[in-house]
Assembly symmetry: C2
Homo-oligomer: 410 residues x 2
Amino acid sequence: MSQPTTSPLAPEAFPALPAIDGVTLRIARARYKQWDRCDLTFVTLEPGTAAAGVLTRSKCPSPEVEWCRAALPAGTARALVVNAGNSNAFTGHRGRAAVEAVAARAAGHLGCRPSDIFVASTGVIGVPLPIDKAEAGLDAAFAAEPCDWLAAAETIMTTDTFAKAATARAVVDGRTVNIVGIIKGSGMIAPDMATMLGFIFTDAAIDPALLHAMLGDANRRSFSCITVDSDTSTSDTVLAFATGKAGNAPLTAPDDAGADAFAAALESVCLELAHLVVRDGEGASKFIEIGVTGAASDESAHRIALSIANSPLVKTAIAGEDANWGRVVMAVGKAGEPAERDRLAIRFGATQVARNGLAVDGYDEAPVTAHLKGKAIEIGVDLGLGSGRATVWTCDLTHGYIAINADYRS
Amino acid sequence: MSQPTTSPLAPEAFPALPAIDGVTLRIARARYKQWDRCDLTFVTLEPGTAAAGVLTRSKCPSPEVEWCRAALPAGTARALVVNAGNSNAFTGHRGRAAVEAVAARAAGHLGCRPSDIFVASTGVIGVPLPIDKAEAGLDAAFAAEPCDWLAAAETIMTTDTFAKAATARAVVDGRTVNIVGIIKGSGMIAPDMATMLGFIFTDAAIDPALLHAMLGDANRRSFSCITVDSDTSTSDTVLAFATGKAGNAPLTAPDDAGADAFAAALESVCLELAHLVVRDGEGASKFIEIGVTGAASDESAHRIALSIANSPLVKTAIAGEDANWGRVVMAVGKAGEPAERDRLAIRFGATQVARNGLAVDGYDEAPVTAHLKGKAIEIGVDLGLGSGRATVWTCDLTHGYIAINADYRS
């Protein structure tokens, strides 16, 4: 398959990002595939770094996910290894052996415990990660000069069409702390994350348990609110590392001074990263925000919003720039959540097109048509039942998605 | 949009079908759309006809669905009216008034209660069924000569690319009873949403409650086991009518002599009709059977099978004739049902490609490749956990689906 061109929804430029004290990025060519590009990322973290993470809920996770799940409770990290081109998923004992070998090799270089090494892999499924290539790649990375965020963000990419990163800062205990996140993902994206690998680094000092709680909250409002194709990866991973080098008094409880500011900054980074994944959704030509209000509960609103976001008929209608609110009704109806047809109201952009269970007589089609011709689409649904609300983000379903996923042989 | 060509998965010919005593078919041009074709079907049923049905579980059903739901408990029917070109869904009080007017007009012709008239509509959403056209169409149909099954099966079509029917017979109480079913559904085209309307007629004498139970059982193993794109219509309707003209002693209980034979014949008609809908799935180029065994329960197997069948990544892989079993693993994993990665076994056609959580070393790719090049694809998944099993049917996801659903403006 030829390299896809950059998504039309990509930001104009890669953002300017601060260095994070205590974080050193290196990359190398492990050559997991027949390609001449860097595909192994080795991030070393100063001793004392706190770690937290959220992982796929797939019942068939990759051994990397199992490894991270086992390592997270200790709450400490010395390095992160990311392999691109081979997900190592569904490879049985050989896959487990590969992860153990990677962690042992990295730990050998750093003189730490293997359990302080976090590993994530993305790419083809069913082929064990080749241990020899991984070890040689790690050795090469360890010997390499440090690189910048852009190089690392590019090295974790697989089918992504652009490198993705976000940053935010907060003042904690009188110190400015920085947060930087990088992420990859464009297909197999559904709530519960996707083959979405996201890595967030901060120089803040924060207790791992609190970081974990904050990351979980942020995840619920960001990565769990995006979907490209309703397919959930076996490898979804978001990890956060806090080096503590900013020198603030460590955050340990949600009501500590500065904790709210840090949590808000962390969530803004997560949300920006999540949106970037949608903007690189396979074949995407429109970025779609779906807001549901008036539901029986927030959870119910979330499920209804995802039912709309995952509907192929809604997504193809948006691709066709068609204000087909009937398909939105259909998607509300199939969600299985409390809904009353004759209370439903639907909006495209700022224009109400249906209210009280039927079309708004003579609504002005011009602004709707103009809205749908744009790249940022808003669909609003009010159920008229309660105060539950949720927002999710997705992209449209186009020939590009079929071309990427069907017009090739693996 | 130009008329789509006949699905490559269509049967070679419309089947030969027996007349059903007590059932008279008529059609007319109501001209619900700007077209010159019959679009109203009026089926009259002799007094004494038993009725049963299964209806969409959408929380936003059409007024026709609500009308049928209210009429079914009486268990009797004198006529069925099917409108094509306008689904009358999401049209508020005007839609309800239209259904009442149709039922009243038909009842007036037959001298029966409106509640003995069943009504189903399919087509554009959000536009109330025009009462004047419906009444004029009904009057024309009532005055018309009876027609054959093919004409009726064509008249209920919207975006279908071929007319669909099935038949079976059974011996009950020494009499041969006939069953004929017609159905429409393919997908979802232009501003319409996919709607499956199925109508089954038999001359058997059977108590409506028993017919209802048998139809429910058959539905669970047929219509509830197919998916084209995971989108559930607001109007899905399957109705069964039994005129009793075969003269058998009425079936009233599941253990009556002949009840099993009749139930089996009914199920075979339902299954054949369900498969025909998949074969006309929008853009379909492959008919896919997904069999799940070894699940924790039959229900769990069904949910896992549907998770696979609804996965865009699995469906595009099949379109690409790619034995991408990793995507099948992904779909098993996201179903949320009990699964153990290292017990999973996956088969394409007759070839086991993965077992015990990893690829079968050196499996013969030739038969897999040959199987995937065909039009009838089988995917088998064994979970190795229990004895739960289920089979579902779907089609692949191709450029054709996008072309039909996005490349137009309503």
